[in-house]
Amino acid sequence: MENVEVQIDNQMPQIDKSRGKGLWFEAWKQLLKNKAAMVGLGIIGLLILTAVFAPLLAPYNPIETKILFRLQAPSADHLLGTDDLGRDILSRIIYGSRISLQVGLISVGIALVFGVGSGVVAGYYGGKVDMLIMRFMDIMLAFPSILLAIAIMAILGPQLSNAMLAIGIVNLPRFARIVRSSVLTVKEEEYISAAKSLGASDLRIMLKHLLPNCLAPLIVQSTLSIAGAILEAASLSFLGLGAQPPTPEWGAMLSAGRASLQIAPWVVAFPGLAIAITVLGFNLFGDGLRDALDPKMKDK
């Protein structure tokens, strides 16, 4: 028995590897041809570089207030102007990229781990477990997403870390659904029965055989969800439920600039533009990835 398992295990990765490489290679080739996706990738790359090198790029301290320089229009000294406390808007946007990236990655990470976990369990075990998990997801989907995030924030209290958790929870059902439907089709395949008859544990089957099959749609969903998460976090901060002052978060910056909109529109305009460009970048790249990895989902 032991020998057979070793033998099969030695062969399986080989088959998977060649197949996997082909799929990913083809997808990458197609992605390279997609101009919009490359623009998206460029924006994401720029965002990551800005976040990493924020201390080197930012001309001023993002939280240092200089009341004498308040609400200055864009100039050579302050390229994007200053806010109501005299802080340099460009510097705050540069540091804000760190927060947006962090929010996107962490909240989607939360959704991914718990969504994938519950989706695999629901699809694999079926029956009552499936019904229980999926009805729970249905109830979550019965709430408009931003409203659910707001409700969760009401429970947890206004804080950036709570906002990430709330957004993660809100996005969880989508991942669960994707994984569950994939698992439902794959679990009837012969190689799963073979693995079972060789005594592979449920956990091993889920991790080694079922999950790799949903990887492509999961990557697509994750990229698009990062765009959504950044937007949702900015919305929560805008409403005063996410990042709190003086954190240079883009949504919170917009919210603070509202009072001076009439006399200093740049305080609102530039952080909003930063959000829009970042979200556009992830959307463009996500769309491209979907076309390349998941032809069935094209144009949906």
Partner: protein
């Protein structure tokens, strides 16, 4: 069809019960004593105890839920901690404002999004197609709260074309019958109020409509492109029918199902987005009410507004499902 409607209505029950449990549990999931949090740090232990008693927080959980449900079925959601008014009354006043804004936005989104999608599809790979689809992608990525503020700055502060907030100008009188201002002004024949309320609706509804409009345009384009490549379209052209007839009579009807699905899904986005738009435009709806309630830790009011908005969403989704049958006679509800 009738069996299907009944089955769908029955399926609603567990979802609505689930929603009610989730909303009910909100208060109990708050870390710490909800009564203490609601009253703030300066509250005396006596005040906290009184509020706990008043809200029935000392009773077992199932009893509290049963009482919550009993109240709910009677249309009683308790009293606001902040204003001490009945929450049902407060929501009743604000709900029409939210629905009016949502419907206006949906109209804008559909009336602009669908034609743009059709033009894009019929002029595939042209400059117009390229421009509209780039615009649509930008629209999908737009933070609506930012867009709202920018249109206020441009159209209210700079150009002075539209009012930046509220539903009606000061000094314009309107008899409230349904609290839907547009409807009320039509019913009462008050044309000044009609013009004024429409005037106030334009900026918030266009801002709120941006994302759904972009999504609908993209979906219309892809759905139309799929249908336009079908053989029966070529046959229709071969028969000598005009492009107008082929597109609107043959293609659009068949392309409608995915478009309607997407339109239905956008209602959720609109109801959620209303929270942001109402805050920006000081629109006195349920969305703004819920944000104020959260910031003042008025949990019963938060529960009420979340419940009302999510129940609306559930019913809209049902309506969309039922609409499929009307649009596509091929669908059998068995």
């Amino acid at each position: 069809m009738l069996t299907y409607i009944i089955r769908r209505l029955l399926l609603l029950i567990p979802i609505l019960i689930g929603v009610s449990i989730a909303v009910f549990l909100m208060i109990h999931l708050i870390p710490g004593d909800p009564a203490k949090i609601m009253l703030g740090e300066r509250a005396t232990p006596d005040d906290v105890a009184r509020l706990r008693e008043q809200m029935g927080l000392n009773d077992p959980l199932y009893q509290q839920y049963l009482r919550f449900m009993k109240g709910l079925l009677k249309g009683d959601l308790g009293r606001s901690i902040f204003s001490n008014e009945k929450i049902t009354t407060e929501l009743f006043e604000r709900y029409p404002a939210t629905i009016e804004l949502t419907i206006a936005s949906m109209l804008v989104a559909v009336l602009v999004g669908v034609p743009v999608g059709i033009i894009s599809a019929t002029k595939k790979y042209s400059i117009i197609d390229y421009l509209t689809m780039t615009g649509a992608l930008a629209g999908v990525s737009m933070p609506i709260f930012w867009l709202g503020l920018m249109v206020i700055w441009l159209f209210s502060f700079k150009l002075g074309w539209f009012p930046p907030s509220a539903r009606l100008s000061v000094g314009v009188d309107l008899d409230n019958i349904t609290n839907f201002y547009v409807l009320d002004s039509i019913i009462t024949g008050n044309w000044i109020a009609l013009k004024d309320s429409l005037y106030h609706l334009i900026l918030p509804s266009f801002s709120l409509a941006t994302i759904p409009m972009a999504i609908i345009a993209r979906m219309t384009r892809s759905s139309m492109l799929e249908v336009l490549s079908k053989d029966y379209i070529k046959t229709a052209y071969a028969k000598g029918l005009s492009q107008k007839v082929v597109i609107y009579k043959h293609a659009l009807r068949n392309a409608l199902i995915p478009i309607v699905t997407v339109i239905g899904l956008q209602f959720g986005l609109l109801l959620g987005g209303a929270v942001l738009t109402e805050t920006i435009f000081s629109w006195p709806g349920v969305g703004k009410y819920s944000v104020t309630a959260i910031l003042s830790r008025d949990f019963p009011a938060v529960q009420g507004s979340v419940l009302v908005l999510s129940t609306t969403f559930v019913f809209v989704n049902l309506l969309v499902d039922l609409l499929y049958g009307v649009i596509d006679p091929k669908i059998h509800y068995n």
